[in-house]
């Protein structure tokens, strides 16, 4: 079983192991789906642990910040916002997962109810679809590790400077956001993140191209123009326009008196 980099942080280490296994599986090709499935289950379980950790912390600290909350009387909205912002899932929408979401949106497109349904289902059984799912999970694993690191930093800060908690939920929230932002910016520039993002992008593109190939096969069977054929027409039109432009330019140059040509050199002292 693959093991990732050990930090002593149980959450980070578990994620790291899951990612290392994922990377091994990717290297081994689609035949290695079984260890991946295990890694993804583990990833889900660790994600849930991250969430529980955030909830437990919030519950404990929330009582200190606003004891009335125990009776449901004075739970501030800032506190609720803090609770939400501490949710590890928020890291996925904090810029980090933007590329992931964009790719998923672009890849999946509108869900047609009839046209090409069979083909869409077929393509979801292919290695490209599996690879996309795996790449997305690996990407989330990196994000979860970032959350775990940020949370460790933040927890340490609240232990080192307990006065933060007495400043109220908004101050605590601002502190968490600062820690989270710094960690995300660092993570986004890390080799592991960039590699995972690249894998996700290529997996999304491969899936999209595979799907197109299957849909085009269906189109050809039904004598419907394909995307590739339309692209060829666009290329032909573009090339023709360039030729017309070139021709017009040449005719205009020939019609111009010779003295209007030439590029003066104007180096200024």
């Amino acid at each position: 079983m693959a093991e990732g980099f050990k930090t002593g942080n149980p959450f980070f280490d578990a994620w790291s192991d899951a990612f290392a296994k994922g990377a091994e599986s990717m290297a081994a090709g689609t035949g290695a789906a079984a260890p991946w499935a295990e890694a993804m289950r583990e990833a889900e379980s660790n994600w849930a642990l991250c969430q529980r950790q955030a909830e437990d912390w919030m519950s404990a600290v929330g009582r200190q910040m606003a004891p009335g909350a125990e009776t449901g009387g004075s739970d501030g909205i800032a506190e609720e916002t803090l609770r939400r912002m501490l949710d590890p899932g928020q890291f996925l929408s904090a810029g980090t997962d933007e590329v992931n979401q964009s790719i998923q949106r672009l890849v999946e497109g509108p869900g047609f109810t009839d046209l090409g349904t069979l083909e869409r289902q077929v393509v979801k059984a292919t290695g490209e679809w599996l690879a996309l799912r795996q790449a997305s999970a690996a990407f989330k694993a990196i994000t979860a590790a970032a959350w775990s690191r940020a949370f460790a930093t933040f927890s340490q800060a609240t232990r080192d400077e307990p006065g933060i908690l007495s400043e109220g939920p908004r101050a605590v929230l601002d502190r968490w956001l600062k820690v989270a932002n710094d960690e995300l910016i660092r993570t986004q520039r890390s080799d592991a993140f960039l590699r995972a993002q690249r894998n996700l992008l290529t997996a999304g593109v491969d899936y999209r191209l595979k799907e197109r190939a299957l849909v085009e096969l269906w189109c050809e069977t039904h004598s419907i123009p394909t995307r590739s054929e339309v692209d060829e027409i666009h290329r032909a039109v573009h090339d023709l326009k360039a030729q017309v432009r070139e021709l017009k330019s040449r005719l205009a140059a020939e019609a111009r008196p010779p003295h209007q040509d030439g590029a003066p050199s104007r180096k200024r002292a």
């Binding site: 200190q64 910040m65 606003a66 004891p67 009335g68 909350a69 004075s74 739970d75 501030g76 909205i77 800032a78 506190e79 916002t81 912002m85 929408s93 904090a94 810029g95 933007e98 590329v99 979401q101 964009s102 672009l106 307990p162 006065g163 908690l165 007495s166 109220g168 908004r170 956001l177 989270a180 932002n181 995300l184 910016i185 986004q188 520039r189 960039l194 993002q197 690249r198 992008l201 290529t202 593109v205 491969d206 191209l209 197109r212 339309v230 692209d231 666009h234 039109v237 573009h238 090339d239 360039a242 432009r245 030439g262 590029a263 003066p264 050199s265 104007r266 180096k267 200024r268 002292a269």
Partner: protein, 367 residues
């Protein structure tokens, strides 16, 4: 854990303040329509249309004498020119018009998959070239000053290097020239687009564009959003809450959001050149970037050059812009370093006056 010092009454007060703030946000947003969030509103008249590309001339402000030759604003294909004309009091366009600059604008429109084969040669030699020719005819001159913004600055630089006889002055703002110089920036948070592009293989970029025809605006938008990751979480709750009671700040916020969300697709061929030839392979400064079979020679930039960049620019790190200095073929090269970030050059009230005055004074000296 510390002892509790945050009292229940404080929590109540904060709770009520938050509640009132959110109510104000909802009320304020409810009375603002999309039409109210007007960006790029300075009056202009379209004078030419080429495919989806339009050339317009800004209407001179009433009572302001035109004191310069024609200046053409060239934005890139990444995003929209409206950043330079976000609102009346934060508009480089209005600033320059107010000082008497004769201003034109080229807009690239909304490229679709039908435009996927348009390359940088098309955008510079064809579209930009035709715009320059038309302005010359309109204004009765034989040269135009180019004012390039970001990727539009790179286009302007390439056009000026290929057709120096048609460019009177070259003004660049936040323009990347050396795409690997982010490594020289001491601020490691700068240059995420450089880092992202280099993390991809050329084949990855080719296949991405093969799959979508163009570079989807959403992909670039998501890379830009990752510049301020946590802000994406807070801007529609905390930030909105904080500014909801201030109409002016709220409208500024909404205008900026409108600009950020407006990300057209980048035509495929030009995107391959932008990401592979320039961002990955850095061919422009190496002298190996070719258009129409000819290498673009920055030494042919013989016209006066004003290079404006921002010291805290996360998108175009200052060294990427400053790299132009030693490469131009003119001694009349001026730099203006501004204290803010990428967008701040256009929307910061502090930068506005500096940019407007500097560009205008520099231009007037070179008429």
């Amino acid at each position: 854990m510390s002892e509790q010092t945050y009292r229940p009454d404080q929590a109540w007060r904060e709770s009520l303040e938050f509640g009132a703030g959110f109510a104000r946000s909802a009320e304020a947003l409810g009375r603002i329509s999309e039409m109210d969030v007007d960006v790029g509103a300075t009056p202009k008249t379209e004078i030419m249309r080429l495919e989806k590309v339009t050339l317009s001339r800004y209407t001179p402000l009433e009572g302001v004498e035109v004191r310069t030759g024609p200046v053409l604003i060239v934005y890139g294909l990444v995003g929209r020119y409206t950043m330079a004309d976000l609102q009346e009091d934060r508009s480089l366009v209005r600033n320059l018009l107010g000082r008497g600059v004769d201003l034109y604008l080229v807009e690239w429109g909304n490229p679709t998959r039908a435009d996927q084969f348009l390359g940088m040669e098309d955008y510079t030699d064809w579209f930009l070239g035709d715009c320059v020719d038309r302005i010359c005819a309109e204004a009765g001159v034989d040269q135009v000053t180019l004012l390039g913004i970001c990727e539009g600055g790179t286009f302007s630089t390439i056009y000026a290097a290929r057709h120096p006889e048609k460019v009177k002055n070259l003004i660049l703002t936040i323009t990347p020239i050396d795409f690997h110089a982010d490594a020289d920036d001491p601020d490691v948070t700068h240059g995420i687009l450089n880092v992202w592009a280099r993390s991809l293989g050329a084949q990855d970029i080719d296949r991405l564009i093969d799959a979508f025809g163009n570079l989807p605006g959403e992909i670039l938008g998501s890379v830009f959003e990752s510049l301020t990751p946590v802000r994406n979480l807070t801007k529609y709750n905390l930030d909105l809450h904080d500014i909801a009671s201030d109409d002016e700040r709220l409208m500024n916020f909404l205008r900026m959001e409108k600009w950020l969300a407006d990300r057209p697709s980048h035509p495929g061929t030009a995107a391959r050149q932008w990401l592979i030839d320039l961002y990955k392979e850095n061919r422009l400064v190496k002298g190996t970037f070719e258009l129409g079979g000819e290498a673009v020679d920055l030494g042919r930039l013989t016209m006066p050059v004003l290079n404006v960049f921002a010291l805290r620019d996360h998108i175009i790190p200052p060294p990427c812009a400053k790299a132009l200095g030693p490469l131009v073929g003119t001694d009349d090269y001026t730099e203006l370093a501004l204290p803010g970030g990428h967008v701040g050059v256009y929307v910061s009230s502090k930068s506005q006056g500096i940019v407007g005055d500097t560009v205008f004074d520099w231009l007037v000296e070179r008429q």
